[in-house]
C-alpha cells in the first residue's frame, strides 16, 4: 500500500480506537448525547491528519492543530456557534477541570449537559492527539485509548454482553491496526488470542460485578455536594400555621399525592432535627415515572422544592436530589420556579402491609439524651409489641387518641426533648411538628426505624390547578417497612379524616391496614415469617470469599501490569537519560553499554566478554543489516576511545550515540512480538557484571 494511504488508515484506526472507549461512557450520559461530540472530535482530528499529509509544512504543527481545532469544534458544538468568547473558554476549561467531578456528583444516568459530559470528548481529543503522534509505535499508540477505556470503567463498569461486544469491537479495531502496521509475520496470529482475552476479561468483569449500581469504582470516591446552610423547615411549621392563608405553591397534575414533602429529617440529637441527605445533582432520570405534576413555586421561600418520595424525573429545573428521601434542593434560588415532577407509586398488598416487619437495615438517626418516663411511655404506646409495622400503627393510634392538635393564635413550637416532654406529659397538645417528632422519637426508642418528613398536606381538589397554602403545612413521620420502603403515617389522626380517598396507593393501603388494626385489648404480635427475623430483617448477603479473592487477584494483575507497562520502560528511560548526560570518553562507553542493552532486549545473547565488533559479526540473519553497520561504527569509536592513545572528544561521543540510534532504528524492522518483548523485557534492567571501576 502507498505509505500515505497506510498513514491515513493507521490514523483512522487509531482515532477509532480512542473514540470507541469514549462511547463506553454511554451508560452514564446516554449514547445520543455522546455520539455527536465524539464523532466531531474524531473527524476534526482526521481532517488535520489529512491536511498535514498534503501540506508538509504543517506537519510539525499537527498536534497543536489537532488540539486547537478539536477544542474549537467542541466549543462551537456545545456553546453555540460564533466566535470563541470567554464563556466558551470558561466552559472548555470547566470541561477539563470540573465536569468529571460534577458527573460524580450527579445521579445516573446523568443529564446530557455539556457542563457534565464535556470531559469525555476532551479526554478522547487528548488521547487522539497522543495516539496519532505515537502512531509510529502502534502498540504504544493504543495506550491513550486504553486509558480512556480505563477511565470509563472507573465511572461505570460494563459487564455482560455489552462488555463483550465493546471488548470485541476494540479488539477488532486494534487488531486491524496492528495487522496493517506489521510487515512480515502472519498478521492474524495475535487477533485470535486477543479476541479470547477480550471475551475472558469481560466475562471476568461480569463475574466480579455485583450489579448494585453502575458506578462501581468511584461510588465512594464521589465528591459530595458541599453542605448547604438552609433554614430548618420543621421550625417553620408553626409559623406557617399562624398565617394559613398565604399561598406557597401551585400544582396541576394527576391525583395520587396526598402530601408534598420538602425535607426529610433523620438526625436528632435531643435538641434539634437535621437533614442528613447525600445530595447529588439530579441526572436524567431516577426511574420510570407513573405520575406527573406540574408545580409552580413563586418567588421567595427557601431552597427546598416540593417533591414526592419515589422521585423519577424533574424537568424544567436543575435541582440537587437526595435519592434516599426524594427531596429536592435548589441552592441559591432566585425568582419563581416551574417544573414538571415525575414519580412512581409502590405496589403493595394491604394484607402484606399489616403483618410486615420493619426494615432493620434502614438508616435511622439517634434520639439524644432521653428524659425519664419517655421509654415507659413508648412501651405503653406500642402496647408492648415487638417492632413491626403493626406496632408502628399502634403507636400512631395511641398518639392520635391521646393527644390533640393545638389551635389558637399561639401555637407550640420546637421539637427538642424539652418541648417534647411538655407535649407528651403536660400539654398533650401540639402541631403536626410535635406529633411527628414525638412519634419518631418514641418509635426509635422501641426499635422502629423512623424519620420526620416536612411538607404540606395536599388540599382536596384537582386535577385542575391546586394551590397549597401555609395552612396545609404539615410534618409527618415515616417508618421503614421491610419489602415496602418508607411508609408515611399520620399520628395527628388527620389521615383517617378523609383526604386518603384522593391519595396514592400507599396511602390507601396504609388506611386499610389502619382500619384492620384490632382494638388495643386484642393486640398481638404479627406472625413472624419463618425465613425472616423481624428484628434484624434480611441479613446482608455475604460477599463470597471467592469474589474477594478474585478482586484482590484482579488488583494484583492490574498492578503487575502497570508495573510492567510503566516501570520497565520508565526505568530504562531514566538509565538512558543518565547515560546521555555523560561527556567525552565516558559518553562513548555509555553509548556502547546502551547499545548492548538494546541488543540484549532484542534477545541477542551478549556475553560478559563480548565486544561490539564481535557482536556485529555474529548477529542472527533475521536482524536488519543496519544493526550490524551501526555496531561496526560503534566498535570503531569504542576502540578509538578505549584503546588508542588519542581518546575521545564530544564529537566522538555524538557519533557513538548516532550509532546507537542507527542500531535502534534497525530494530524497528523487527517483528512486532520481538519489539513488544524488547519493550517489556525485565532482563534488560539487569546491570551486567561489568568491569566499570
Amino acid at each position: 500500500m502507498n505509505p500515505q494511504w497506510t498513514q491515513r488508515l493507521v490514523a483512522a484506526l487509531l482515532l477509532l480506537a480512542t473514540g470507541l472507549p469514549g462511547l463506553l461512557f454511554a451508560p452514564v450520559f446516554g449514547m445520543g448525547s455522546l455520539l455527536l461530540p465524539l464523532v466531531t472530535v474524531l473527524l476534526v482530528c482526521f481532517a488535520v491528519v489529512e491536511v498535514c499529509l498534503r501540506v508538509a509544512a504543517l506537519r510539525p504543527w499537527r498536534p497543536v492543530l489537532m488540539l486547537v481545532l478539536g477544542l474549537l469544534a467542541l466549543g462551537e458544538l456545545e456553546f453555540g456557534p460564533g466566535l470563541p468568547d470567554s464563556a466558551m473558554l470558561r466552559g472548555l476549561l470547566d470541561g477539563v477541570t470540573r465536569s468529571w467531578q460534577l458527573t460524580l456528583q450527579s445521579t445516573w444516568p446523568a443529564r446530557a449537559d455539556a457542563e457534565l459530559f464535556l470531559f469525555v470528548p476532551l479526554a478522547v481529543l487528548f488521547a487522539a492527539v497522543l495516539a496519532v503522534e505515537l502512531s509510529r509505535l502502534p502498540a504504544v499508540a493504543l495506550l491513550p485509548g486504553l486509558a480512556v477505556a480505563g477511565l470509563s470503567q472507573a465511572y461505570v463498569a460494563l459487564s455482560g454482553p455489552v462488555a463483550t461486544a465493546a471488548g470485541l469491537a476494540y479488539v477488532v479495531v486494534a487488531g486491524t491496526l496492528l495487522a496493517v502496521t506489521r510487515r512480515r509475520e502472519s498478521r492474524l496470529v495475535l487477533l485470535l488470542p486477543a479476541v479470547v482475552l477480550a471475551v475472558a476479561v469481560s466475562a471476568g468483569v461480569t463475574a466480579l460485578d455485583q450489579g448494585v449500581r453502575p458506578s462501581l469504582a468511584l461510588e465512594h470516591a464521589a465528591a459530595p455536594v458541599p453542605p448547604l446552610r438552609v433554614d430548618n423547615p420543621l421550625d417553620e411549621v408553626a409559623d406557617r400555621l399562624t398565617r394559613p392563608g398565604e399561598a406557597v405553591f401551585r400544582y396541576t397534575g394527576t391525583a395520587g399525592a396526598d402530601r408534598w414533602r420538602i425535607a426529610v429529617l433523620t438526625e436528632f440529637d435531643g435538641v434539634s432535627w437535621r437533614a442528613n441527605g447525600d445530595y447529588l445533582r439530579l441526572g436524567a432520570t431516577l426511574g420510570t415515572a407513573t405520575r406527573h405534576a406540574r408545580i409552580t413555586v413563586p418567588d421567595g421561600g427557601g431552597p427546598w422544592l416540593p417533591s414526592q418520595p419515589l422521585l423519577a424525573t424533574v424537568a424544567g429545573a436543575d435541582p440537587l436530589v437526595d435519592p434516599a428521601t426524594g427531596t429536592l434542593l435548589l441552592p441559591g434560588r432566585r425568582g419563581p420556579v416551574e417544573y414538571e415532577l415525575g414519580w412512581r407509586e409502590p405496589a403493595v398488598a394491604p394484607e402484606a402491609l399489616l403483618d410486615a416487619g420493619i426494615d432493620a437495615s434502614a438508616v435511622s438517626g439517634g434520639v439524644g439524651q432521653v428524659p425519664p418516663g419517655v421509654a415507659e411511655l413508648a412501651r405503653t404506646a406500642t402496647g408492648g409489641l415487638r417492632p413491626s409495622f403493626r406496632a408502628a400503627l399502634v403507636l400512631e393510634r395511641y398518639l392520635a387518641e391521646h393527644y390533640r392538635q393545638a389551635t389558637g393564635p399561639v401555637l407550640p413550637t420546637g421539637s427538642g426533648w424539652a418541648q417534647l416532654s411538655g407535649f407528651l406529659f403536660t400539654t398533650r397538645a401540639g402541631t403536626s411538628e410535635q406529633f411527628a417528632t414525638a412519634y419518631v422519637a418514641l418509635a426509635r426508642l422501641t426499635g422502629i426505624p423512623a424519620r420526620v418528613a416536612v411538607g404540606f398536606r395536599a388540599p382536596p381538589g384537582g386535577p385542575g390547578p391546586v394551590t397549597v397554602h401555609n395552612g396545609d403545612s404539615f410534618a409527618w413521620p415515616e417508618v421503614a417497612v421491610a419489602g415496602v420502603g418508607w411508609v408515611p403515617l399520620d399520628p395527628t389522626g388527620g389521615a383517617s379524616r378523609g383526604t386518603a380517598a384522593a391519595a396514592g396507593a400507599l396511602a390507601r393501603v396504609t388506611a386499610q391496614a389502619r382500619d384492620a388494626l384490632p382494638p388495643s385489648q386484642h393486640l398481638r404480635d404479627p406472625e413472624v415469617p419463618a425465613d425472616r427475623d423481624p428484628v434484624t430483617g434480611p441479613s446482608e448477603p455475604d460477599t463470597p470469599w471467592a469474589g474477594t479473592l478474585l478482586g484482590w487477584l484482579g488488583i494484583g494483575v492490574v498492578s503487575a501490569f502497570v508495573l510492567v507497562v510503566v516501570a520497565i520502560p520508565g526505568r530504562r528511560a531514566v538509565r538512558t537519560a543518565r547515560r546521555r548526560r555523560r561527556t567525552g570518553p565516558a559518553a562513548v562507553v555509555a553509548a556502547w553499554l546502551e547499545a548492548r542493552d538494546v541488543l540484549r532486549a532484542h534477545d541477542i545473547v551478549v556475553s560478559r566478554g563480548a565486544t561490539a565488533r564481535e557482536l556485529a559479526g555474529r548477529l542472527p540473519s533475521t536482524v536488519d543489516s543496519s544493526v550490524a553497520e551501526g555496531l561496526e561504527w560503534l566498535a570503531r569509536l569504542v576502540d578509538l576511545t578505549l584503546w588508542s592513545p588519542y581518546g575521545a572528544d564530544d564529537r566522538t561521543a555524538a557519533q557513538a550515540w548516532s550509532a546507537v540510534r542507527a542500531i535502534r532504528k534497525g530494530f524497528t524492522e523487527a517483528s512486532f512480538r520481538t519489539r513488544l518483548r524488547a519493550a517489556f523485557d525485565l532482563g534488560s534492567l539487569r546491570e551486567p557484571g561489568l568491569v566499570t571501576e
Binding site: 570518553p585 565516558a586 562507553v589 556502547w592 553499554l593 556475553s607 560478559r608 566478554g609 563480548a610 565486544t611 565488533r613 564481535e614 566498535a635 569504542v638 576502540d639 576511545t641 578505549l642 584503546w643 588508542s644 592513545p645 581518546g647 557484571g689 561489568l690 568491569v691 566499570t692 571501576e693
Partner: protein
C-alpha cells in the same frame, strides 16, 4: 637504504604472496604473519596433506632472509640442529659448524617425529636465540623464527612435544581443510606448477626487521594488559585445566596482539585483537585435567569459555 614501510603494508605484501599458493586461508596467513611480526615461533598442527609445510615454506620464501628446513626424523641428532665443533686439522683447533637453526626462518618439519632429546635441542635457541656448544655461545641471525609443523599426536611413530617446548611457541595454528572452491583452485595451481618454490621474496629481511621494531611500538593501554592478565588468571582457575597459561602466555597475548593490530595498519591494540589471537596463543599452553581429557574436552573450548566469561574492559582510565 630501503624505504620504511609500515607493518600493515608489509603484511599485505607477504599475505598476497603466500595466498597465491595457499588459497582460502586468509586468517591462517594473517596469524602466521602476526607471529613473524611478533618474532614469535609458530607451531602449525594438523593432519597430513592440508598444507602445513606449504605454509611454512611460503612464509620463509616470501621474506628475503636466509631460511633452513630441518626434516625431523627419529634418528636426527641435536647436533644436526645446533651445529657441531669440527676439528680443523690445518689450524689445529675446533671449528664450529653451524647447524640448521642458523637462519632467519627455520622450518622444523614434522617436529614431533624427532626424539625428545633432539626436540630439546631447540629449547635454548627458541627462548634465547643463542646456541651454546662447548660452552661457546653462538647467536642466530635476527629476526629468528621457528616455524614447526607437526602431525596430531595420535599418529604412530611420533613423540609428544614437552610442555616446556610448547610454551616457547608464540602461537599454534591449525590449517584445516580448504573449502571446495579453494581446493579446486589449489589443484589447478598445482597443475600449473605454482608451488612454494616458485615464490620470490617480496620484502627484504631489513624491512621485516624494521616492521618488527615498529610493532614493538604499538600502543597498549594498561587496561588491556590487565585484561590479558585476567584471561591468563582465569585459565589457571578453570576447573577443566590442570595448568593454565603462564605469565609467558599473557605476555605472548599482548605481543601477538600488537603484531595483529599492526597487520591491520593500526597503532594501538584493541580487545578484539587480543580476543582474535587468544585461541592461537593460549590453547596449546593449557593442560587439561585427566577427567576433562577423558571427557573429550578441548583446550580450545576452554579458551572460548574464558573469553566469554571474562568481562571485556570498558573503563576509561586516566591518560598520559
Amino acid at each position: 637504504m630501503t624505504p620504511l614501510r609500515p607493518p600493515g603494508a608489509v603484511y599485505k605484501l607477504i599475505a598476497e604472496n603466500v595466498r597465491s599458493v595457499l588459497r582460502g586461508k586468509e586468517k591462517l596467513v594473517r596469524h602466521a604473519v602476526t607471529a613473524l611480526f611478533a618474532e614469535g615461533h609458530l607451531l602449525v598442527e594438523d593432519v597430513p596433506g592440508v598444507g602445513k609445510t606449504t605454509l611454512a615454506r611460503c612464509l620463509a620464501r616470501s621474506v628475503g632472509g636466509s631460511w633452513n628446513r630441518i626434516q625431523f626424523t627419529p634418528d636426527l641428532l641435536p647436533g644436526d640442529i645446533t651445529g657441531v665443533p669440527v676439528y680443523h686439522q690445518r689450524e689445529e683447533r675446533f671449528e664450529f659448524h653451524p647447524g640448521g637453526v642458523f637462519a632467519n626462518i627455520v622450518v622444523a618439519d614434522e617436529i614431533n617425529r624427532g626424539t625428545p632429546k633432539t626436540q630439546s635441542a631447540l629449547l635454548e635457541v627458541m627462548a634465547e636465540r643463542t646456541v651454546t656448544v662447548d660452552a661457546v655461545r653462538h647467536e642466530v641471525p635476527r629476526p629468528f623464527l621457528v616455524v614447526a609443523t607437526q602431525n596430531p599426536i595420535e599418529m604412530a611413530g611420533t613423540y609428544r612435544l614437552p610442555e616446556a617446548q610448547l610454551d616457547r611457541f608464540l602461537m599454534r595454528l591449525e590449517v584445516g581443510y580448504p573449502d571446495l572452491a579453494s581446493e579446486v583452485k589449489v589443484i589447478m595451481g598445482d597443475c600449473a606448477g605454482v608451488g612454494p618454490d616458485e615464490l620470490a621474496p617480496v620484502v627484504d629481511i631489513e624491512t621485516v626487521r624494521r616492521a618488527i621494531g615498529q610493532v614493538r611500538a604499538v600502543h597498549v593501554e594498561p587496561a588491556l594488559c590487565e585484561y590479558a592478565a585476567r584471561l591468563a588468571a582465569a585459565t589457571r582457575e578453570h576447573v577443566a585445566l590442570r595448568y593454565g597459561a603462564s605469565p609467558r602466555g599473557s605476555i605472548a597475548l599482548i605481543r601477538a596482539g600488537q603484531a595483529y593490530a599492526a597487520t591491520d595498519g593500526r597503532t594501538f591494540v584493541t580487545v578484539d585483537d587480543v580476543k582474535e589471537i587468544a585461541q592461537a596463543v593460549l590453547a596449546h599452553r593449557l593442560i587439561l585435567t585427566a577427567d576433562a581429557e577423558l571427557n573429550g574436552r578441548d583446550p580450545g573450548d576452554v579458551v572460548d569459555e574464558v573469553l566469554d566469561a571474562t568481562p571485556a574492559p570498558v573503563s576509561v582510565g586516566p591518560r598520559a
